[in-house]
């Protein structure tokens, strides 16, 4: 598949503080790519470099076939959608007026406002002043803002961090629909379930470096111990190593009809992250 984004040997330092040591990855056209890492690992910094908000210290970055000199130009900006971590809206204006501004700046037709407000479940509230909205509602307006010009590539920096589970699920469905329609999504999160259910591939960012990059299922399989987790009818829970010398024991449990359930170990993405980095995601 064609690459929509290529990053090679990316490095960024703020004075003496090295935020990104050496990051390389590719994002394929049409995929949902997740950049995962704990607070301070460099997720936002990476997005800012990819969108031209920050300059890089070293490395090569290509986005939508444009190199660093073209990233950040008006032409580039009109082709990508960005939801940044602490961006905000005009508090005194209505939802509609906020979106109208961006509709005009991106030269999108004004009908898009209603289309997107329906998508994010805020059509009824369109004339409400932003200062009267909850955090989750604001986040949904910001998401609508990022998508107003139907970009082919969107950057979402922690898109669901302020949302309750119901809203989160709603946004997830919307993002998957968007992705099915052909939009490439680059997102950051520290929510492992979100990454697991949304992303085609994830990269683990740890202290400015990528320590793992793969399909979430693949990662969970790869880091599995493949131990058997067995629950017996007597209520006993056993963990039996998947080795040839344990075969008789497992066979015996099955033959004597003691096995109520049996699974092989499959760690959650969060557990994989912990194992790889020795660091809890917060």
């Amino acid at each position: 598949m064609e690459n929509i984004m290529e990053v090679a040997g990316l490095k960024k330092s703020f004075g003496k503080n090295i935020a990104i040591k050496d990051v390389s990855f590719e994002v394929k056209k049409g995929e949902v790519f997740g950049l995962l890492g704990p607070s301070g690992s460099g997720k936002t910094t990476t997005i800012k470099i990819l969108t031209g908000e920050l300059s890089k210290t070293a490395g090569k970055v290509t986005v939508l076939g444009m190199d660093s000199s073209q990233i950040g130009t008006a032409d580039f900006k009109s082709k990508v959608g960005i939801l940044s971590d602490n961006s905000s809206l005009y508090e005194r204006l209505t939802i509609y007026d906020n979106l109208k501004l961006f509709c005009k700046l991106y030269r999108a037709p004004l009908q898009q406002i209603d289309v997107l407000l329906r998508e994010v479940n805020l059509h009824e509230e369109r004339m409400k002043t932003v200062s009267k909205l909850s955090k989750g509602m604001k986040q949904r307006v910001l998401l609508a803002k990022a998508l107003i010009h139907k970009p082919k590539l969107v950057f979402l920096d922690e898109p669901t961090s302020a949302l309750d589970p119901g809203n989160m699920a709603h946004i997830h469905r919307g993002l998957l629909k968007l992705n099915e329609a052909g939009t490439t999504i680059f997102l950051t999160t520290h929510n492992m379930e979100e990454a697991n259910s949304l992303c085609d591939r994830v990269a683990f960012l740890h202290e400015g470096e990528i320590v793992e990059l793969d399909d979430p299922d693949e990662l969970r399989y790869k880091h599995s111990t493949h131990d058997f987790h067995i629950e017996t009818y007597e209520g006993e829970r056993l963990v039996i190593k998947n080795t040839p010398d344990n075969a008789d024991r497992i066979k015996e449990l099955i033959v004597y009809n003691r096995v109520k359930s049996m699974q092989t170990d499959k760690p959650t993405l969060g557990q994989v992250f912990l194992k790889v980095t020795g660091e809890e995601l917060v």
Partner: protein, 231 residues
């Protein structure tokens, strides 16, 4: 520069201005002051320096202060980031805002001058001076607005701008020593030069005002370059 984007910014900022109590107070200041003077004047005509005091108050409290405050708020509330991520350029953003501030200034100045009398200012040279003075205060406001990270930070700059450049004509009425150091320096200030225009037939004062505008433009340009290259 892009007309559609400028008009989008203009539309947003004028709506926002109309809903911002703090900013709405500013254009009222020169108007309320003009009404007060009018009350106290018992029908006499106002001296020229007085009209320019009004101009100075309008330009410093409306043009410069509103501009700084609007930009500082965009910085403080992180809304500027959204604009910068969009295809709008910083120039589009600044021009859109300047048009809003220009319109509000125009209304405030016209109303307040209508109250205290605007006749002496209705000639080509004086109007040119008024336009140049507007640009001077606008550029000053933009320059300061570019590096102000919060609204509270701008108040530290509002006072000096008002006192130094807005209220300069008051010095003339304080009966300070004409040849003293303070008067010699402040006499070259933009508003004082506009007053000079009415006392001499020379074009030199206009040239000096134009010099101030250039200096303010340079200041704005330096602030612009600095904020654009900041990480």
């Amino acid at each position: 520069m892009n007309i559609q984007r400028i008009s989008a910014i203009f539309e947003k900022d004028i709506k926002d201005f109309m809903k911002n109590m703090m900013l709405l107070m500013m254009p009222l200041i020169p108007i309320v002051l003009a009404l007060l003077y009018k009350q106290m004047s018992n029908g006499e005509e106002f001296p020229i320096y007085f009209l320019y005091l009004n101009v100075g108050i309008a330009y410093s409290s409306v043009t410069s202060t509103c501009m700084m405050t609007m930009m500082a708020e965009e910085n403080e509330k992180k809304t500027l980031r959204g604009l910068i991520q969009s295809p709008a350029s910083m120039v589009d953003i600044l021009v859109g805002k300047s048009l809003v501030v220009g319109l509000i200034t125009f209304v405030s100045l016209t109303v307040s001058l209508a109250i205290i009398g605007s006749d002496p200012l209705l000639n080509g040279k004086a109007i040119l001076a008024l336009i140049l003075l507007f640009l001077f205060f606008l550029f000053l406001g933009i320059g300061i607005g570019l590096f102000s990270k919060s609204i509270s930070a701008t108040s530290a700059y509002t006072m000096p701008v008002m006192l130094l450049f807005g209220f300069t004509p008051i010095l003339g009425s304080l009966q300070l020593d004409e040849d003293g150091i303070i008067m010699t320096i402040t006499d070259t200030f933009p508003i004082m030069q506009a007053i000079e225009l009415h006392e001499k037939s020379s074009w030199v004062p206009l040239g000096i005002i134009a010099g101030w505008v250039l200096a303010a433009a340079l200041f704005m340009y330096i602030c612009f370059k600095k904020t654009m290259t900041d990480d």
